[in-house]
Symmetry: C2
Subunit: 327 residues, 2 copies
DNA sequence: CTGAAAGCGCTTACAG
DNA sequence: CTGAAAGCGCTTACAG
C-alpha cells in the first residue's frame, strides 16, 4: 500500500497536522521540523492523496475546460490544440490539472457540466467559445461558479478574454487595401457568432476610412464552416462582378476559396485569421495569439476563483493583441 | 450548502448506506425504497460529492490522457482533436471524465504523471503516442498502473490499439501503382517512429509485389514534421530523376509537396494519411479511423482496469481498420 | 511552533 | 432487504 500522512508523521515523530503544514510550507513550522518531515516523505516515497485533500479542503486544484459539442467545426480548427496548450502551460505552473467537459449535444454537455460543478470536480471553468445564450454558461452564472469565457459574451456577470475582433477585421482589410485592392470581398460565418460579426464590422470601417463604398454583394455570411462553403461562396461572389482582394474570417473558408482561385488561375491578395500559419499560400494572416488567449484565460480564472472565495465576486475582462503575419 | 447523503437519508427515512445503494442501483434494494430515496434526491437537488466517493471507494471515474510534449507536431495535426473526440464520446457513455496530462518537456510531463498516478487522480491512462523507450510509459508499467497506448509499443506488458500501418502503407502504394505510376516517391518521418517505419515497409512490399525495383533515392525520411520539409524534400527528390507518383506519411508533408508541385505546374497522383480530409487537393488519403482508435482505446482501458482489479493483469491488443478515401 | 480532535461526504464489510 | 459502525486520508480551527 501507498504510505499516508500518518506514516510520515510516525516516522518523523510529529503529528499529522504538522505534516500537512510542511506540505503547505507554512512559515510557522521550524526549518528543522520541515527538514525532518521531508526526509521521511522521501524515504517513504509519500504522495498526498488528492481526493482526501479535496474532500477536506473543499478545493480540487482542477479546472474544467468546456468544449462545444463534439461535431463542431472547432475540432477541425487549429484553435483547439493551441488554446489547450496555452491553458495547460499556465495550469502546470500553478499545480492545476485540466479536466475536459464535452458531449455529443447540448443536453449531454449540460448534464456533464452539472455533474462537474455540483459534484465538486473542479474549482473553476474555462469556456472555449463565446455564443449568445449558451445554457452551460448560464448554468455556471446561476450557480455563481467561477468561470471565464474565451470569446465575447453578453452577460455582464462573467469574465472573459478575447481579441479585439473589430480592430482585427479593420487591420486585415486595411492590409488588403494597401495592396491596391478596391473591390474587396468578405467571407464570414453566420451573424450570431460574435467573432464573425465583429470582424465584418471592422471590414466595413476600413472601407469607410478609405472611401471605398460598401457593396453588399461582396459580403457573404456562411452558415457552415467548411472548405466547400469557401469554394462555392467565392465562386458565387465572383459571378457578382469583379473582385481584387479577399478577407476571410476563417482558414477553412480560405482553403476552399484558394482551391477555386487556383483552378481558375486567378490571383488575388488574400488575408485570413488563424492560430497558426494557414496551410495554403496566401499573402498574410491575422494571428489571433491563441496561446496567449489560453494562458490569460487561466490567469483570469485564478483571480476569479480567489475573489469568489473572498465573497466579493469580481468580473475581469482582458483583450489580447493580434498581429498581421505576412507569408 | 449543497445537500449530502445524510440529508437524503433523513428526508427519505432510511440510512445513508441505503442511499448509497440506491445510487448504485443495487438489486438488493426494494423498488419502493428506491423510489422514495430518488424522490428525496430530486427534491433536495442532491448530487454526490465525487471526492468523497473517490476517497471511500478508491476509484475516481476519471481517466488520464497523456499527450506528447506540447511543442510537438502533434498539436498541429488533426489527429489530436479527433482522437480526443473518440475517447470522450465513449468515456461519457460510461460516466468517465477525462483529465489531460501534458507539459513542456519530458521532466515536467513525468512529474505530472507521477502526481497523477500516485495522487490517485485517475483510474487509468491512455497514451496518445507510441515511442521507443518512453519514460512515462515505463513508469506506468513499473507501477502496474492500468494503461493503453494508441500506437505501437515494444513492451509486452502494455495494452495498445493501433492501425496496421504496414498494410496501410501497402494499400496506399498499391493505389498509386494502379494509377499507372512506376516511379513512386515516399516521404516519411524519422525511422524511430513506428508509424513511419511501418508505412515505409508497406510501400516496399507493394513495389515488390508489382515487380517495381526499390530505388532508395526516391525514399526520404524527414526528421521534422513541417510543410517546409515536405516542400524541400520533394524538390530534392525531383532532382534525383523522374517521379510519377507520391506517397507521404503525413499531411503536413503533403501540403508542402503540393505547394511545390503547384508552383512547378507538375501533376502527380498523390496519396497521404490523415484523420480527416486533407486541406489540399490530392487523389486520395488513407483514413486511419482516428475516432475509432480513440473509442477503442477507452474500451480497452476499461477492460484493463477491470482485470487489474481482479489481480489478473491482462494485456489487450487491437488493430483498427483503415480505408482509402478518394477525393 | 505544534498537537489533539473533529470533520469533509462518501462506501463497505458485517450483521441481521 | 436494510442499518450501524468503521474507515478512506486528508485539513482546519482551537488551544496551548
Amino acid at each position: 500500500m501507498a504510505s499516508t500522512i500518518k506514516d510520515v508523521a510516525k516516522l518523523s515523530g510529529v503529528s499529522p497536522s504538522t505534516v500537512t503544514r510542511v506540505l503547505q510550507d507554512k512559515s510557522s513550522i521550524s526549518e528543522a521540523t520541515k527538514k525532518k518531515v521531508r526526509e521521511a516523505m522521501a524515504s517513504l516515497n509519500y504522495h498526498p492523496n488528492v481526493n482526501a485533500r479535496s474532500l477536506a479542503s473543499n478545493k480540487t486544484n482542477v479546472i474544467g475546460v468546456v468544449l462545444p459539442k463534439d461535431s463542431d467545426i472547432f475540432y477541425q480548427n487549429s484553435f483547439f490544440p493551441a488554446v489547450i496548450r496555452g491553458i495547460s502551460q499556465t495550469a502546470a505552473d500553478h499545480q492545476y490539472s485540466i479536466q475536459l467537459c464535452t458531449g455529443k449535444d447540448t443536453n449531454q454537455r449540460l448534464a456533464i457540466l452539472k455533474d462537474t460543478i455540483l459534484g465538486k470536480r473542479v474549482d473553476g471553468l474555462i469556456f472555449l467559445y463565446g455564443e449568445i445564450e449558451d445554457p452551460l454558461v448560464e448554468f455556471a452564472i446561476d450557480q455563481e461558479f467561477p468561470a471565464v469565457v474565451i470569446g465575447k459574451t453578453l452577460s455582464p456577470l462573467i469574465s472573459f478574454v478575447d481579441n479585439n475582433n473589430e480592430k482585427a477585421g479593420f487591420d486585415a482589410t486595411e492590409y488588403i487595401i494597401q495592396k491596391g485592392a478596391k473591390s474587396i470581398a468578405f467571407i464570414g460565418g453566420r451573424d450570431q457568432l460574435f467573432v464573425s460579426r465583429d470582424r465584418l464590422k471592422g471590414y466595413e470601417k476600413a472601407l469607410k476610412k478609405y472611401d471605398i463604398p460598401i457593396n453588399d454583394s461582396l459580403i457573404a455570411q456562411v452558415s457552415e464552416f467548411t472548405r466547400e462553403q469557401g469554394y462555392h461562396t467565392l465562386k458565387e461572389l465572383l459571378k457578382e462582378g469583379n473582385i481584387d482582394g479577399l478577407v476571410t474570417a476563417d482558414s477553412l473558408f480560405t482553403e476552399g476559396a484558394v482551391r477555386y482561385l487556383n483552378e481558375k488561375q486567378i490571383h488575388l491578395p488574400i488575408i485570413t485569421f488563424d492560430s497558426v500559419q494557414p496551410s495554403v499560400r496566401i499573402d498574410a494572416y491575422v494571428d489571433i495569439h491563441t496561446l496567449e488567449l489560453g494562458r490569460s484565460s487561466f490567469k483570469l480564472l485564478r483571480n476569479v476563483i480567489k475573489s469568489y472565495n473572498n465573497k466579493n465576486m469580481m468580473c475581469y475582462r482582458q483583450i489580447i493583441d493580434h498581429s498581421i503575419k505576412e507569408m
